[in-house]
Point group: D3
Chain length 249, copies 6
């Protein structure tokens, strides 16, 4: 790998600057404004005591997620899905991915009959909005769980989180495997992969797509290697953010 | 008026702290993140050269606006309008108000055949989201017009803005007329009025509603007096924000 | 003011001929076909014993309203909102205005756990459809309340109406303040205001909009004066209509 | 047949009182407020010079129809289809029936490239709304065609109407064949049939449905006989209405 | 009638080859893949113990139907109704016809509080999809009822079916009355009629439409004669199909 | 691996019986009814000369796909998406996957300005509906391309297919890696992966999801090995199906 390949000067295996503003929202039980470079996502976690009717009485909770983009998050304005009257396929797909990813680190018995809705709203988009969403939603989720514990909705000794979770994109751009693609890189990528990993380094979701030419086993392996490195870094950043005191608590 | 009536220590005629972060978005031609206390609205202005087909060839431009709230902007989570598949009446009403208010200070001949879409997305709500939206949208609009002028889409000597515009809420809470109601005040207000005013102090829109008892002419007059004072202050803040250099330009 | 300014020969402060056909519908508990000149609105009030589930057990009733226009009420045909699959912003806004206006004169405790839905369907439109709707809906509401009392759904001594309510439009056309604008006047109006007033002469709603140039305090005051005069006349007409015996009762 | 069977005193083969208020609407090119007893339908015909794009250049016109009921046309209020966001099956079915029925008496070549939209809005319903709609829509259509001829959109010698068209319901109630069912009869009918017939006595549409027991050939024949008698009477009433001078022309 | 008029060599009074693959679906309680020539419809009957809430406690069941076409069932592809977000008028109309037709041969008391949903999905269309749907749905319904009886949801001695039901189209093509129109014939038919008949030869539904010229009483009678012959044949085919052992039972 | 683990007697690495009925539809330019055991999907390819407006003039074609399930394809009936008025997230996600997968083996320059829509309608579902869809859609696509070549819409020497494509699911059930999961296995799988592979053995899409516990690199590798074996077999079956003469051509 050459070191100077990327528009923003990053090395192929380097993340963009990642910042996590925990507790950004005064209204939500947990929240984080996360940035992966110019990609900014506001993640909120809404804690409700109780579960949907079809789950009542099983002693288990539920976690779900919704993803959306502001109309001018991107370079040219998109119509609002509310105005179009329907949620688009891409939005649905990403909402489902975020939900599955976060549920994979939650012990629903330990959560008890509580529901958490994660909202990931992209305020500004520059590639990697789904991976930033998952990574930020974990921080919001952790805070909402702490909130629920403090108020007694979750048992004192319950450990609803089995691990942390983060996600990063990797891809092959101009023949070069790269970590954390910005939009300009993503749109040129021949292969594009989103990898969701636990803090312990196991896979929760691997989604690789050949945008141009099909990819082979070696390329797949190289990309997975990169993704594990990037996610390890993100796990540290999440841990650091959660170690700080929350302002105003 | 007593000075110590309000929960946050304000006098009845005092605005909440107002901040305007101009150029918040790297993607939009104009943008402002505006706060009225804990109410935070991201306003973007999207500039498009050209107008909708039905307006072509008239030498005139168009300005339109859309307002929305993030699902967890408020104290309890609301369902997304995109998920419900329809835009609600309140959203429609406020979108239309913002559009009318901004159009009132635009000379469409001077704008030429260009279209500007204003998006006001409430990131956090604590009362006054529509008035903050109008006030912030003006700043975003001004910057988008400057952008269009620099690129030659608007004539060099054209003055598409005829004045500035801002808006503030006033209301009678527990018998006391007050400026810039926070949510807790708004929900207790007997009469609630939103007043949109030009920088020159003329009315663009007056919307007064008796939530409890009907109001009389004197109360109406007192509220209008308060609103004119508040809007004059907002006009100064807008002017100050627009006088600064935009970072990164 | 000159006396001969208006297309239909009215003086600036003169209402169009107003007729109220009470009990037009054999099906509804209360109804009125109201005309303001060529504007004709069929107002029905549907009385239901009981309230929506979220209100049960509070001993209070509810009043709500829906407004709509027949597709060919206007000079050129509009698509039906049912066919488009969504209620438009203007329709939503007016429905909400009618609901708020009528609720302002109802004592929900006295109404008891009963629900009244007001439907205002514009059969023919020539300006002032929302003001005719409010004025006619009051008559339909009064009859539906009488119906509910006769059948014992409302207590014998209960007074669910605290006052009457009517509405009229005023505006500045070619520099001249005018009452009850017909469509041709409305579309030329620089300022347009809808004023909802109780029988007692207090304000329920004031909605003034600068369609052209912003308006000043003096103009606002002149318009409010005109509106109060017009509404006083409407209150008399409502009273007269309600004083008659209902055919077929 | 006994003479005194029916609630309103009609004989089995007798129509309800039918009235046709031609030119009810000042806005539409043709209109009729038609009553079959307490069933009242406002029919408007909107004339547009030109045809939908997919028909352009063929020298032929088009006629289409939309049917709807006001929410409180019936004994208990129905939700608006616009509010539900979709047109119901029954509405669709009747709109299509009206359109087919009217198109059957139009010569599209003689109409030329003009479009007519028929709107049938039921203001009050007491059975037979679809048959009253067809019968009234014919009058509105005839007037709209005359309007188009006067203004030169239709050739001077063109005869776009090949015949008149009317419709009536027939049914077997308590074993007795009856003409023009009121709602209370319709809901008890074992067999229910709507028959659309030209002025010349030929069938355009026959829709017979066994609501209770299946029906045999004899019953079918008796019902068709009744329907032809009723439609002949309606054809006379249409002719009489169209023979009068239109007020205000 | 000449014998050699039709494209596929049929005589005017001859059905296309009809096949009924009973038990096609492993998932549904009753099913049939029915062919009328190249028209192929998959009919499934879904049996649910219980009825919708509004029917509970009356000791009666319910039968309903939904019809749909695959997007490429026809010669040119249609947009999916799910993608368009609304069910079209034709689909609604046919779904309602199928439901009414099948309900006409069901004794709801004998069915008990059970619900059967009939789904008729057109896999390939060549005219007569609604008549094939009704004819096939009857077979699926009979099997679902047998299924319910075996499992004790329907009383042992109950006879929920009062008769069989089938349907066929008839029409006048180039002046010649014909049975079971294929698409190419249907699109040229001057009059088109769908006739739903019980096994006992009585009418459930007669829907005749003049597509071109209106039709007279004689033509109507000839068409009804043809339809009764065709339906008698279909009733035999249904009986034969139901007489066979179901594979895998 | 033990050989007798699976309900249907398969070994862990064994596909279910796969059948491909090519040319099932008389209407579509290409079609295949494909079965993976009890999963049956009707795949049609609709060929249109021309491309959407936004692609015109670039000399390139387009391929898109839509997936849907009949309401009673599954063990319990689902509501139709057309009736619900919106396409669900899962449907969207799978439609997009099928489209991407097929596009990956198409050379759009060689296709020329032609559009192919692939419809995959699940008639019966027993796990693996998306993989059967992709595998069958390839056969339909190949036939539609041949159709387009014969008619001269595609150049004589053009090779629009760069490879074949198939897909298979793999998963870890009760600790055992398995190929081609039936529904009962899929619902018990801890990890579930869909792998789309070219005939040449390269990856087009890898979608692995931890339904229960996260998975590690070794498990991922074992699953990929299995998937490559299964897809090689499917590629042979596709080739064999395409080698046969199409009936009726």
């Amino acid at each position: 790998m050459t070191d100077t390949l990327r528009a923003d000067g990053r090395t192929p295996g380097q993340l963009r600057p990642v910042t996590i503003e925990r507790g950004w929202s005064k209204q939500a039980e947990g929240s984080a404004l996360i940035s992966f470079g110019d990609t900014k996502v506001l993640c909120t976690a809404s804690f409700t005591n109780g579960v949907p009717r079809w789950m009542t009485g099983q002693g288990k909770g539920w976690v779900t997620a919704e993803y959306s983009m502001l109309p001018r998050a991107t370079n040219s304005r998109s119509d609002r899905e509310a105005v179009k009257g329907r949620v688009g396929g891409r939005t649905h797909e990403i909402s489902r991915l975020i939900g599955r990813s976060l549920r994979a680190v939650v012990d629903f018995k330990a959560l008890g009959e509580n529901t958490i809705v994660l909202d990931c709203d992209v305020l500004q988009a520059d590639g990697g909005t789904r991976t930033a969403s998952i990574t930020g939603a974990y921080v919001a989720l952790a805070d909402a769980l702490a909130w629920g514990k403090e108020r007694g909705f979750i048992g004192k000794k319950a450990q609803p989180l089995t691990d942390s979770v983060s996600a990063i994109s990797v891809g092959i751009v101009a023949g070069e495997p790269m970590l954390d693609l910005a939009y300009v890189e993503d749109s040129r990528a021949g292969t594009d992969m989103n990898v969701v990993v636990t803090g312990g380094g196991k896979f929760i979701e691997v989604q690789g797509t050949a945008e141009g030419a099909p990819f082979d086993r070696d390329e797949l392996n190289t990309l997975l290697d990169l993704a594990l490195i990037g996610n390890a870094e993100l796990a540290n950043l999440q841990q650091a953010a959660l170690a700080q005191d929350l302002a105003g608590e």
